[in-house]
Symmetry: C2
Subunit: 351 residues, 2 copies
């Protein structure tokens, strides 16, 4: 052992052991390209030997980077749909830590509150960047950050500018999951089991995420030969929630299109749909969205978002900005995956 037990290695002690100047050790740590290969190898061997931990605070001061990423913790709703953002938070925090970043968490009641919080954090702390979740039409948060040149990435595409997003000229970095791909897969799964009249229980038109999820169902149904009039009949719109999903199913009794299956925009809606279906003695096949723990628990087929990949992509796009890499306003649209379970295992009882 080259170092005394308990004494913390310093630049000076490393320099003494390696027989070089302190400046050389500093160069090895901070500007290795300026150091000769032989010296580099020798000093690095000593650094490893004494388990030298560069003082991060000093490094941060030098690079003017805090390595802190701000993230708003969204409010818990029914504990079902919120699980997705909690899982994203876990994945993002783990990924960020691997890259030497920490997460600073805050809460806000709405977009205005979130912006106020950005201002406060930027005023009072060192924060490198923000991650935004739940983007929506007319999202003023991204404008605010863009106008101030503050690095950020969104989980959710910029809905205000769908065409810009699709054509690759998105105004900021974003990661999203292809919702229409998810509901299209779900609908095709039901079609392949023999269902023909498949309803969609989703949110009223106007929400970016909800409209995307409706779109995938529409696409698959049109491909299967359904006309727009029939589609309209099968398109049930409601607020999100377990009770709302149950009410939608009850409204199907004596429905002119007599659907045998439903694709839902969320697991909350699907849970209500499944329970109402059972209590009516019906056997509607039901698919949810988000593959929450509740879906796994009750045997509900659901569409799973690849949250670890989302977190990794978001981190990658954020670090690209912080390091001034060219893809700093890039975006990634990731496909979700259908997880088939009991709720879609039986073919339609009426055709």
């Amino acid at each position: 052992m080259l170092h005394t037990q308990g004494a913390r290695p310093t630049l000076a002690s490393v320099a003494a052991i390696a027989g070089v100047s302190r400046q050389t050790v500093s160069n090895v740590l901070n500007e290795p390209s300026r150091v000769q290969a032989e010296t580099l190898a020798k000093v690095r061997a000593v650094l490893d030997e004494v388990n030298y931990r560069p003082h991060l605070a000093a490094r941060q001061l030098r690079t003017k980077r805090s390595r802190v990423i701000g993230l708003r913790l969204e409010q818990v709703t029914d504990g079902i749909n919120g699980a997705v953002l909690d899982r994203f938070l876990h994945a993002f925090t783990e990924g960020a830590q691997r890259h030497g970043y920490r997460i600073s968490l805050f809460t806000a009641d709405d977009d205005a509150g979130e912006i106020a919080r950005y201002g406060e954090l930027l005023d009072t702390t060192d924060i490198d960047a923000f991650v935004l979740t739940s983007t929506h039409h007319g999202d003023v948060r991204t404008e605010w950050l863009s106008a101030r040149d503050i690095p950020f990435v969104t989980f959710g595409r910029p809905w205000a500018l769908p065409h810009a997003a699709v054509s690759g000229t998105a105004p900021h970095a974003w990661v999203d999951v292809d919702g229409s791909f998810g509901t299209r897969s779900a609908t095709e799964h039901l079609l392949s089991s023999g269902h023909r009249r498949i309803a969609f229980i989703g949110w009223p038109a106007g929400s970016g995420t909800g409209d995307e999820r409706r779109l995938g169902w529409q696409q698959a149904m049109r491909t299967s030969g359904l006309g727009d009039d029939e589609l309209d009949l099968l398109d049930l719109q409601t607020a999100d929630g377990v009770n709302e999903g149950a009410a939608a199913i009850r409204s199907l009794t004596g429905h002119p299109a007599a659907p045998t299956a439903v694709v839902c925009a969320s697991d909350s809606l699907a849970l209500g749909a499944l329970e109402a279906s059972r209590s009516l003695g019906e056997t509607f096949a039901v698919v949810g969205f988000d593959d929450t723990p509740v879906a796994a628990a009750i045997g509900l087929t659901s569409v799973a978002q690849p949250l670890i990949a989302v977190a990794e992509a978001a981190l990658d796009l954020l670090i690209a900005q912080l390091e001034d890499r060219p893809d700093s306003t890039g975006h990634r649209l990731l496909p979700p995956r259908l997880v088939p379970r009991r709720s879609t295992a039986t073919p339609p009882t009426t055709t």
Copy 2:
């Protein structure tokens, strides 16, 4: 309006408007007791008028407080039991924000990793305190922090010293939920519905939390007249998990004590128990623990931890330490609440 639109008010501008010195404005902000009442009122009126926001960073520098609380985000397990800690995180973050504190999140694989992370954070950032979750026997994290005089509070009592904890000489601040109260309530609920032979599905002896939950069931069963031999027969021990709960129920077929109901140490175990019970065509009454979203979704009676109250108490004990108030090593043991649902709605079919 006394101030120019867009110009940010400063000590100097406030002083100019109020007709006092900058030092007086500073005194009003930091040492109001040194300022005459009339001057205080005048300056405060100007501060309000111009919406002066004291520069928190400067204040932090002066008070040597960062107003940052570190918290380890625990790994997601089956997405069922983890929901409790996610809900605690939400409640704690919201409470902390109301008190002007932010949460710095990190992850770790185990206690040693968590301690390494404490060291790194303390070395490199300003952090005021830590919140620890999932305390257990021989928890080295609390020793490490105590030895260094670092403010912290635990969600979970100090299991290594149960007697000290109970007698009020706990070595550190903690908040916990009274698990034995919860399972006692659950067992009494079943007894009052006519069940007599009630099994317990819990974790092997040795985990503080698990032993507490077993204790409450034992207490209620003894009070109902059961002897220790019968209790031993009804005490099923297994690892946590949905499959484990199902296996425990299947082991009850032809069981000598012929139980009609089970109290479980977790919702994961209870979910497995309920599903296995249904697939066997049995009608075991089942109670879970933690009142997770899954319990609500499947109609499972469960014991709910008062997580908002836990978060408030933890924050209160933490701030007491940071402000050197006398109850800085206090503790709070909060009672949980039984949430009855369908899974315990039917009386026993055999007696």
